[in-house]
């Protein structure tokens, strides 16, 4: 049944006044119409029926495309920030739209719109269709709803339903813990960002699948000052979690103290000793290196297009046998996890490097088809405005056997990397990552704290140099950028020893 759009608007319009006084936080899911699935949401709220979807897919294949797909997205993102002792601002952002994709061989046509009237969507379908100009007529399979196999989110008490005042309590606890850590703490800024994203995918092969994804992140940024000397510490926690997370897994107090501690330590930090040396990567956040150095070059698109250094190295030894690396989008409640990817594919844990040998790539639908491999559930996109790309989810270097303390003890003179601002890699395999805080290693001990160092290297040179792998594990929470699109990810690693790597800094 197709809901009448105009009637619907009238109904919501009159409900607004009442709802706004009852609830001060996202009341999009007005009590009378709480949808259980994204399909129900798009049908009841925006009047998009299965019949419409079928007609749009036909229109999209009207010029001879081989495959068509609709990606509907409705996302509500909230943010609250505390600074200078007050909640300075709160924000709410609604993203609504559909992206329509047509594939023909290696070619992609894409149109998108926020206008969910049938006319508006038809225009986007015709735009996407134009990538093809000839070819046989492809039959549209009848849409069948496919259920997801896993539930990797904590939707028990989603943040989207918690009140602004309960969010403010989290901010206040984090803020106060950071402020109280040390008299030299000068400024504290704490933000809580959460979103709920409804996704619905329908394609010409008859797949109809939906997902409802929560995402939360609490971020503390702390500046310490000592005379004219200033430093900034950062800490962050969250995932696809619910309200319970910050009272069990990670408390706001811990988060505030961590950022403050980093800022205070950095006040007394020295510059790194530049040049090639032995580097130990701490387990806490060093996953950023796995993400840059191994994850990106193993995304299928850059291998299919032969621009990754790994494209011709499948089944070859590329790393020390101590090294096993995989990506797993199905880890419960992790920031990079999903029940299905943005093409509706069910994800699976994907081995990339097994005991030093290259064994797999991260696949989306297009690359998998062209490479005659199977999709791994890593086709992701920033939103309805973007084409899907093969992307990482949660990338990990598997735990080893060495005691982390022994790893440090084995280094006579070197550098210990602890926290990061981020990293970057070129397809050619040259990567860099920026260390916010580290330590000098002298005679097997951590000595002076170090600020603002850069680690650079080339994947094929560095992977064989990983000579010790710790028996611990840590996770970096990040946002990955690729082709102008952002994606939430994590990257994990145990403590690692790298025999030789280039450290940059000022001397």
């Amino acid at each position: 049944m197709r809901a009448d759009r105009r009637d619907f608007l009238k109904k919501t319009g009159s409900a607004v006044a009442a709802a706004s006084t009852a609830s001060l936080w996202p009341d999009l899911l007005l009590a009378e119409e709480v949808p259980t699935t994204a399909e129900a949401l798009f049908e009841t709220r925006f009047g998009v029926s299965r019949g419409d979807m079928g007609r749009l897919l036909s229109l999209a294949l009207g010029k001879g495309g081989e495959f068509a797909e609709l990606f509907f997205e409705y996302k509500i993102a909230n943010g609250v920030t505390m600074e200078e002792d007050i909640v300075k601002e709160s924000s709410e952002r609604v993203s609504l739209g559909v992206g329509i994709r047509v594939l023909k061989g290696e070619q992609t046509g894409y149109g998108y719109t926020s206008d969910l009237t049938f006319e508006g969507m038809s225009q986007a379908a015709r735009t996407a269709a134009a990538i093809a100009s000839e070819g046989g007529r492809v039959e549209i399979a009848p849409l069948r709803l496919r259920a997801n196999a896993l539930q990797v989110y904590d939707l028990e008490r989603p943040f989207a339903e918690s009140s602004l005042s309960s969010r403010m309590i989290l901010l206040r606890q984090t803020y106060d813990a950071a402020q109280a850590y040390h008299p030299k703490i000068e400024k504290v800024r704490v933000s809580l960002r959460d979103e709920i994203q409804y996704v619905l995918v329908a394609n010409s092969e008859g797949l109809l699948a939906s997902d409802t994804r929560p995402q939360v992140r609490l971020i503390a940024s702390v500046t310490a000052a000592d005379g004219g000397n200033r430093s900034t510490g950062l800490s962050t926690a969250g995932g696809r979690v619910g309200s319970a997370f910050f009272s069990s897994a990670r408390t706001p107090k811990e988060l505030g103290r961590e950022a403050a501690e980093e800022a205070i330590v950095l006040l007394g930090a020295v510059s790194p000793r530049p040049g090639d040396q032995t580097v130990v990567l701490d387990s806490g956040q060093s996953g950023v290196m796995i993400h840059e150095a191994v994850g990106h070059p193993l995304e299928a698109d850059s291998n299919r297009k032969k621009r990754s250094v790994f494209w011709d190295k499948l089944n070859q030894t590329v790393a020390n046998p101590l090294v096993t690396i995989y990506d797993d989008p199905t880890i419960a409640h992790f920031r990079g996890s999903h029940n299905m990817d943005d093409e509706g594919t069910l994800p699976r844990k994907t081995m990339l490097i097994e005991k030093g040998k290259l064994v797999g790539y991260l696949q989306d639908r297009l690359s998998a088809k062209l490479m005659k491999m199977s999709p791994s559930g890593h086709g992701r996109r920033d939103g309805f405005e973007n084409v899907p790309l093969p992307r990482m989810a949660n990338t990990n270097l598997a735990r080893g056997e060495s005691d982390p303390e022994q790893i440090v003890r084995s280094v006579k003179r070197g550098f210990f990397a602890k926290t990061y601002q981020g990293g970057m890699v070129q397809p050619s395999g040259k990567f860099t990552f920026s260390v916010n805080m580290g330590y000098l290693i002298e005679d097997g001990k951590l000595t002076a704290p170090v600020k603002n160092a850069t680690l650079i290297g080339s994947i094929l040179d560095v992977l064989p140099e990983v000579t010790m792998v710790g028996n611990d594990m840590g996770t970096f929470l990040g946002t990955c950028g690729k082709g102008g699109q952002s994606a939430p990810v994590t990257a994990g690693t145990p403590t690692l020893k790298i025999n030789s790597m280039t450290v940059g800094g000022r001397s």
């Binding site: 608007l9 607004v16 706004s20 992609t108 430093s231 530049p274 032969k306 990552f433 450290v503």
Partner: protein
């Protein structure tokens, strides 16, 4: 494309609605327009994206308490609900005496005088856009040293910004932008280099020809073939315009009012002080016709202007939105969206003379990484370039890092080139700085 009067009407009616519902101040901004992008790889059209977009943002202030709302769903029901929600949430925030819309200032320069909209961009057919990108790539692939194309692309944006607020401001302007370029891969399979060239312009006539873009992309990549590491040392460094622009981009984040009032900049509290050599003049001129960031007014309705940031080495002004201006007891500079057209003023030296003056040092042509900390001014990044020996370009280098401090670098700009242009939001000519630390073998 005509200005869509219904969106002006929508912006104004939402301001009125917010006021009626109890907000003391309301600001509504709407961006609407269309995007096009075509990417070509190995001669074939790979991806074609075309779409119309609309995005609305509302700022609500109640009793000096702020909330913001944004939506790409412009249905009346959603927008009214968001405003009601925002007013409710604002009441729960903390009162901030500095919150508020900017004071109304007349917008004296009209969009028409700024040459930021080009009908030719609107009229250009998809076929000719695709052909232009294809041409760039074909020329590059004709050069045997190019191992692979990473893709060429042509893009256009056509957009109108509507802004209305409860201080009686209501205005709109439209703008266009186009780009064309390519990324290439060169070198040996296990020592690949990726480089390329993209050009940007407000108007089609200003966009460089496919031949020019291809020639520069070929030169920028092939000159790095066979790059090697150099030993760790401190040397003078020459920054090409793209790299001095990157340095200026870092300066822009250090003079951004929001970072300054948070004390997250080494330049906070230093207005009126000598922070650079007397030869350093940095301006932000948002009214330069045709510049990529030129506009009549910023995201808050504050008219753009020409601001002296550093004049003869003295720090004169930060880049301020209305909030950070009020926090710092200053006037907004029309930088609600960051730098508009920030640049280091041109000098008299030719790039060749600058390179010729270096006995041993680095010509910096590319860098990667995030290593730039406004709080301290420290810079630490991965770098690519050409080694200079006896005033001559000797051999390419890669796999090295550069380390420096912006505060020190600004004092040590030894030569400034005559090759400034305004093709991005932040621009610089070729410059020579006395010393950076190179991290290598």
């Amino acid at each position: 494309m005509m200005r869509d009067t219904s969106l002006t009407g929508l912006a104004e009616s939402l301001v009125a609605y917010g006021t009626r519902r109890g907000a003391d101040q309301v600001e509504v901004a709407i961006r609407a327009g269309s995007n096009f992008s075509a990417s070509i790889r190995e001669g074939e059209l790979e991806t074609l994206v075309e779409a119309g977009f609309r995005e609305l943002e509302v700022k609500l202030i109640v009793d000096q308490k702020v909330a913001t709302e944004a939506s790409s769903d412009l249905s009346e029901a959603t927008l009214k609900r968001l405003i009601d929600n925002g007013i409710g949430r604002a009441r729960l925030s903390g009162a901030d005496p500095f919150a508020g819309l900017p004071e109304k200032e007349p917008v004296k320069v009209r969009a028409e005088a700024l040459d930021i909209f080009d009908e030719a961009v609107v009229d250009m057919s998809p076929e000719s856009k695709i052909a232009a990108a294809r041409r760039v790539e074909a020329i590059c692939l004709g050069d045997k040293r190019i191992r692979r194309s990473m893709g060429a692309g042509f893009g256009t944006t056509i957009e109108t910004l509507y802004l209305a607020n409860s201080n009686g401001f209501s205005d709109a302007f439209r703008q266009t932008a186009c780009s064309n370029g390519v990324y290439l891969q060169v070198g040996e399979p296990d020592n690949l280099i990726s480089e390329g060239k993209y050009d940007y312009s407000r108007n089609l006539e200003g966009l460089r020809s496919p031949e020019d873009i291809a020639a520069e992309a070929i030169d920028r990549s092939t000159r790095l073939i066979g790059a090697r590491k150099v030993p760790t040392q401190n040397v003078p460094v020459v920054l090409e315009p793209e790299m001095s622009a990157e340095l200026l981009q870092f300066l822009a984040s250090c003079v951004d009012g929001r970072g300054v009032y948070r004390k997250q900049s080494f330049l906070a509290d230093r207005i009126g002080e000598r922070v650079a050599g007397a030869n350093v003049n940095v301006w932000d001129d948002g009214l330069m016709p045709g510049a990529p960031g030129a506009k009549p007014f910023d995201r808050e309705g504050v008219p753009l202007r020409k601001t002296a940031v550093i004049e003869k080495g003295v720090l004169k002004s930060f880049l301020l939105d209305s909030y950070s201006a009020r926090k710092l007891g200053m006037k907004p500079t029309g930088n609600g969206a960051g730098p508009n057209n920030l640049y280091l003023a041109s000098g008299k030296d030719s790039p060749a003379d600058i390179i010729g003056s270096v006995d041993e040092g680095l010509l910096l042509t590319g860098s990667i990484g995030f290593g730039a900390v406004p709080t301290t001014g420290d810079i630490s990044r991965g770098a690519f370039g050409i080694w200079i020996e006896g005033g001559e370009l000797a051999y390419p280098v890669a796999g090295i890092t550069i380390g420096a401090n912006l505060g020190t670098l600004l004092q040590q700009v030894e030569m400034i080139g005559d090759d400034l242009d305004h093709r991005r939001y932040v621009n610089g000519p070729t410059i020579k700085v006395a010393e950076m630390t190179i991290g290598g073998t």
